[in-house]
Symmetry: C2
Subunit: 346 residues, 2 copies
DNA sequence: AGCGCTGACGTCAGCGCTGACGTAATATAG
DNA sequence: CTATATTACGTCAGCGCTGACGTCAGCGCT
């Protein structure tokens, strides 16, 4: 009976249960649970024991309902299958822990509707703020959500149109410069027909991608023409990269270098080139973006533009902390530095 | 003034606000929000309009406090940097959506304390149940959490000691059979010194890993000796795989095949072998486990044991649904089938 | 006319918790 | 020895919402 009541109470245990057990008021138990002090060490110990015995855990929803903060943050990523997101998520997670916050992650596959649902759910469940890798075409949504009072930090938006709104801050690596470094490197090593293997979504409408800008800028600077045949869009995946190379290799005058939207696409491209009997980098150089861990583990090792994922995550969390304190604070931080990492594929 | 009140209400909008606007009771608004019916289409429309105008969103914490369910589930993964977890997470996400549930993800890096915190937070915030890739040495924790009333589905536990507890179910792929298929394949193709490159954690204490059992079983069946020098543990990462190969290559009698704990380790191993000038598979065959997408994108392509991540995630969610209905239901399901995928590395 | 019945609402309590404030006992100051 | 501060609690309301139940008008039926 006793042993049973200790380990397996079917009903949820509340503050009141603990209070009754000890013979104090629920308020006092609450004080102990929250370490507010204002009670005898002796009382504290008795309550602590009772909490242990009854296996009490605070109901965070009830607490959140009153406090209007939960010490949690949401991370809304696009696609967990692209290793870039997990890498940043780890950085966010680490930083969140430093601020004693729990991070909950939701992913959207880049779908605006799913992003909307994720944000609504996170907000409704009381996260104090969210860090978002925005889905395509979701600026209006983000703006509305922010106006509902949810602080948002937008991370690494590749599009150049800015979101200016109180409650929305943004953090990103210096993507355009990264693209410039990559393309300049290809040009410097003698490449003249440089393809841009990107995400289809970025070719729809009149999108202006920072990577695209960097690519064009560097070609122009070197006096190289921009050949639309060399700009191909595919799904953001290994398969998308492979498909892109297949398209490029049908050209009468195929490229001698590929600048990929990211490493996932680049890795797919790399493989397809090898399968098709092209030598990398002799026949075709390949350079990716993000510098995910796999870049260093494939053969030939993939050159890439390094983004410090840990720093990016950390900066995002710090920025969120800032706007949690003051909604007008730090609308945007300086773009984080990027670095060209030349390996064997270029 | 009006436009302002429409778009940017600073205060949180509640049912009562909407009710006041329309001139009905909060209860009626609640009925509309939850689609309970029992009101005139006309009233419904007026309320719907007011909800839109005031930008009202239900407070899910308040709702959860009463309903004692939130239609959310938690996924507690070990390490997002191992692509296996994101792949399963996608499967879980997809299945959760089918059941109209939102999934929140937390990761633990295999640390029991962080797992404890993640579970406490998820439970406290009212998730209806969790799917857990257990951290090492966390069975006691899981048991306690389950006894607090949180339904748990344990996924893909490699250890052979079972958790038998109401409120805990388990789902996994047939890991031991997978290991047997992989090792048997290596033996069948003439390999005689087969190394087992595993996770350090699994070598601590008297752990019995399903993969280890499969490995030993097959060696025994073929009459091959078990050489402790060929069983090395390292961190579960690309670097861990590289380090493992470095250790193995110092042996006087190095292996002619490597059976890796998972693909991440296998990919690291593969690279280090190539760097060290070994030919794969001619000098050393390598086979991984999980069959993550990258297996098919590296050169040489990595042989592996395929686990259907989508099915695994889906089964986990279905099992959770089952114990949500009945805590005694489906304690454990049959192990999901695995498949040997032979590519270029073996 | 009187009956019950249905539909469309409203009323009220309370989920579990904490902020604001009250109170009694003891410690310290004048 | 009284006045005041401090400590260690308790009381109470209410966060936003929904379950249970109540009310009342309108309808069909005898």
């Amino acid at each position: 009976m006793n042993a049973d009541s200790i380990v397996s109470s079917k009903k949820t245990v509340t503050l009141a249960d603990v209070a009754a057990r000890v013979g104090v008021s629920a308020r006092t138990v609450s004080r102990v649970v929250n370490g507010e002090g204002g009670c005898t060490p002796e009382t504290r110990d008795r309550i602590t024991d009772a909490i242990e015995e009854l296996n009490y855990r605070p109901n965070l929803m009830a607490r959140g309902l009153i406090r209007k903060r939960s010490d949690t943050i949401g991370l809304v990523a696009v696609d967990m299958l692209d290793p870039f997101f997990p890498e940043v998520a780890e950085g966010v997670q680490r930083a969140a822990r430093r601020f004693k916050r729990t991070m909950f992650l939701a992913s959207t596959d880049g779908d605006a509707e799913r992003q909307r649902q994720a944000l609504a759910s996170l907000h409704g469940h009381g996260v104090d703020g969210v860090i978002v890798f925005p889905a395509w075409n979701s600026h209006a949504d983000l703006t509305r959500t922010a106006r509902r009072g949810l602080p948002i930090v937008v991370v690494n938006e590749d599009l150049t149109d800015d979101l200016v709104e109180p409650n929305i801050a943004s953090v990103r690596a210096d993507i355009q410069r990264g693209a410039e470094l990559g393309v300049a490197h290809l040009i410097d090593t003698g490449r003249r027909r440089i393809a841009f293997l990107t995400d289809t979504k970025l070719l729809e409408g009149a999108r202006v991608s920072r990577r695209g800008v960097g690519y064009r800028t560097q070609l122009a600077r070197a006096g190289l023409p921009i050949d639309q045949n060399l700009i191909v869009g595919n799904h953001n995946s290994l398969a998308g990269g492979r498909q892109g190379v297949r398209q490029l290799l049908t050209l009468a005058d195929p490229p001698d270098a590929i600048f990929a939207y990211n490493d996932l696409i680049a890795l797919g491209a790399l493989q397809e080139l090898l399968v098709q009997g092209r030598r990398v980098p002799d026949d075709v150089a390949v350079i990716g973006f993000d510098d995910i861990a796999m870049c260093d583990a494939v053969t030939p090792r993939l050159s890439s533009i390094r983004i410090d994922c840990d720093l990016l995550g950390q900066t995002a969390v710090e920025t969120l902390q800032a706007i949690l304190g003051d909604p007008e604070a730090r609308r945007a931080t300086a773009a984080l530095p990027v670095e060209l990492v030349v390996r064997d594929s270029s």
